[in-house]
């Protein structure tokens, strides 16, 4: 199992090599190194999977300790891996999708002069992400946790000369770091409770150290979840993710859709033993997940920017995952994570292909009717969109239905209802996006003067937006093949989670690891299962039909100006943050700066001035007149005499 260390080490080596030497050698070599290392990581992951499969289900867990990393007093944190079904599954998803996106990037970034830096960052991200999923304890995991955040920052701000990109990077870093405060405090609390943060040890000791529903368990679970809301862009810390679309599109696909943002879900599943001791915290997770799902779906409705639609969609889908794990459906959460990785990456790559063709344009109001000119892209997007909307037989259908039925069967009917409504909205916004980009004629939806545009690097097409008569074509094969592969996975991915007899492949693979949650899993019948699935499917279809009626047939005009405004401002959440958090903090900082000068330093300088002033006064007393001096001495004489007489 020690070979598992190679999984993150390969991309790490790619980072070092490309980072140090990338500018010296050709772009081709850079691309080979970058893709090669990730493919190698994928290959090693497969090998480790094979090794695990060879073991009996109960023995498929191995801790690999590299060396003692931090060890002093009572705090011990080795640098170690935990190789078990969960981590290997995630490693496979991450390295697999990552490899595809790396290959896609070769084509997408072909025109960018900083390709070495790009791939170096991307490799570093792969290393961090793989380390995150493989790490054997919370502290080691935190390396990956922060590492992916760093890479996210670096890649969002990849085109750093553009102020919005630079600002979005900082925003992403800061907001996630705010969540990481919770994560860190969680680690501290874990040390206080367990004396260790080793996952296996904590899982073993959770039952004895954490009283069910006790404050320690609840606090620990909620603190870690705070970290997850930051990293996985949940309410209330989701605000960085839409802005993160300033980065190159493959980055959005890889980091801000398929992998990094799901780290929170993974972490909760990893820590499920703790969460099981904290039902209240699990409820919070489920409620936040459901609320985020519907909120973000609604926010996506009025978004004119294609990538931001997908970003809100990601937030919403992550909400589903949290809803799933919140009701104790650990493996279904991972299932949705996986299928979402496939279809959302596919959607982003397709969107990237559109932008690639349009010179970086991302404003859907400047697009339209592209289905004919970009058939392959349109097809790929359609597959992804259908999966997202939850249409049978795409992967998204199975995974989303699994979570919905889990919620229902867990007795969280309200959450189920909310999630169902969110499913409808999902179908609505993604169908709208598809219609605007591929179906409707250009110019629909009145483009504003300031469009959205990605990057400033030269693209394959030298123009921006949809210029009539311009050469608009599907991307080159190096980009098309990864899209095809992902489309295939999207088609087949459902098989992972669904089979005639639940639990599915994934659930059985993870099963020995995951203690059953509050889920009354066996109580559901096939009949109710089918009914729930039908309800979900119906809502999805209804959404698509609604879009068809509103946008294509123009049969309906349900436009309330108020709703439109609220949606366009994403429920004013960001304005609220700007006014209630950012502005006050900025004001406090300014004020503190002034306070520092005026009061604290003022006191010091004032004291110095007073002393200097005393010197000036004394100077004036030295009048130069001899008789004054004699008088002064006489005063002294009298004072001394007085002292001696009346002491």
């Amino acid at each position: 199992m020690r070979a598992a260390i190679l999984i993150p080490l390969f991309p790490l080596a790619g980072w070092v090599v490309n980072g140090l030497l990338g500018d010296r050698w050709g772009r081709r070599a850079v691309a080979w190194v970058a893709c090669g290392t990730v493919v190698a990581a994928f290959a090693v992951s497969l090998a480790v999977l094979a090794r695990l499969l060879a073991l009996p289900p109960g023995a498929r867990s191995a801790a690999v300790v590299l060396y003692e990393w931090i060890g002093t007093g009572s705090v011990r944190a080795p640098l170690g891996l935990l190789v078990d079904p969960l981590s290997v599954a995630l490693a496979l998803v991450v390295s697999g999708v990552g490899a595809l996106i790396h290959i896609y990037s070769v084509g997408y970034m072909a025109g960018d002069e900083h390709i070495a830096r790009y791939f170096a960052y991307l490799n570093l991200f792969m290393a961090s992400m793989l380390w995150l999923v493989l790490a054997g304890n919370l502290v080691a995991m935190f390396i990956g946790w922060e590492g992916v955040g760093l890479c996210s920052y670096l890649l969002i701000a990849f085109w750093f000369t553009r102020p919005p990109a630079a600002a979005a990077g900082v925003k992403a870093f800061l907001v996630t770091r705010l969540g990481d405060v919770g994560f860190l405090l969680g680690i501290f609390l874990a040390f206080a409770v367990f004396g260790t943060t080793d996952f296996t040890a904590m899982a073993r000791a959770a039952g004895s150290r954490l009283p069910l529903g006790g404050p320690a368990a609840t606090a620990l679970a909620l603190l870690l979840f705070l970290g997850a809301t930051g990293k996985s862009a949940q309410l209330p810390l989701y605000v960085w993710l839409p802005d993160a679309m300033e980065g190159p599109t493959p980055v959005s696909a890889l980091i801000h859709a398929a992998t990094m943002v799901t780290a929170g879900v993974y972490m909760i599943v990893r820590m499920h033993a703790v969460y099981l001791r904290a039902p209240l915290a699990l409820d919070v997770v489920a409620i936040v997940g459901a609320a985020t799902a519907i909120f973000a779906a609604a926010a996506a409705l009025a978004e004119p920017d294609l990538k931001r639609v997908l970003a809100y969609s990601t937030i919403s889908q992550l909400g589903y995952m949290f809803l799933g794990v919140g009701v104790g459906a650990w493996s279904d959460g991972i299932f949705h994570l996986t299928s979402h990785a496939f279809f959302k990456a596919l959607l982003f790559l397709a969107a990237g292909a559109v932008m690639h063709a349009l010179g970086g344009e991302t404003d859907m109001r400047r697009m339209g009717g592209l289905a004919g000119r970009l058939p392959a892209t349109a097809g790929a997007f359609a597959v992804g969109a259908l999966a997202l909307a939850g249409i049978w037989p795409f992967a998204g259908f199975f995974s989303k239905e699994a979570i919905l039925s889990d919620a229902f069967r867990a007795g969280r009917v309200w959450l189920w209802a909310v999630a169902l409504a969110a499913a409808g909205l999902t179908a609505l916004y993604i169908a709208r996006a598809f219609a605007l980009v591929f179906v409707l004629p250009p110019g629909e939806g009145s483009a504003g003067p300031a469009g959205c545009r990605e990057g400033d690097a030269p693209r394959a097409a030298g123009h921006r937006g949809l210029a009539p008569g311009a050469e608009v074509a599907d991307p080159p094969p190096v980009m098309r093949w990864p899209m095809g592969a992902l489309a295939l996975l999207t088609l087949l991915g459902g098989a992972l989670g669904w089979s005639a007899a639940r639990p599915g492949v994934l659930a059985r693979w993870l099963g020995p690891l995951l203690a059953p949650g509050a889920l009354r899993s066996s109580e559901g019948t096939h009949g109710s299962e089918a009914a729930l699935a039908a309800a979900g499917l119906a809502v999805a279809v209804a959404g698509i039909v609604l879009v068809w009626l509103v946008y294509v047939r123009r049969a309906l005009r349900v436009r309330s100006q108020a709703v439109q405004t609220v949606l366009a401002h994403r429920f004013y959440v960001e304005d609220f943050y700007a006014a209630a958090v950012v502005a006050p903090v900025r004001a406090v900082a300014r004020w503190a700066g002034g306070f520092d000068r005026a009061v604290i330093d003022g006191a010091v300088v004032g004291l110095a001035r007073a002393i200097g002033g005393g010197g000036a006064v004394l100077r004036r007393l030295q009048s130069g007149y001899l008789r004054h001096y004699a008088a002064l001495a006489l005063v002294g004489v009298l004072a001394l005499l007085a002292y001696w007489m009346w002491r």
């Binding site: 030295q622 009048s623 130069g624 007149y625 001899l626 008789r627 004699a630 008088a631 006489l634």
Partner: protein, 101 residues
Amino acid sequence: MSVPAPYYLGLSAVLFTLGMAGVLVRRSALIVFMSVELMLNAVNLTLVTFARLRGAVDGQVLVFFVLVVAAVEVVIGLAIIVDIFRSRDTVDVDDVDLLRG
């Protein structure tokens, strides 16, 4: 001697105070000087009184030292005052105020 010792002591204290006042209020360097001499001689009177009171001679010896010292003071002082008079045409101590601050 019919005059009791405290009278001498009182007289010398008065003389000393007069000298002191002279230093403080007179402007001519020469008169200031004379005032200092007055103070010294007041002290001499005290010394002699005490010596007689104690019936010891060492107080009277000290008087001679004081006299010598006073003479030396005058010598140095007059030399300086002459120098000052040469360069400033005045011996008013209030005009000697170049140095201050």
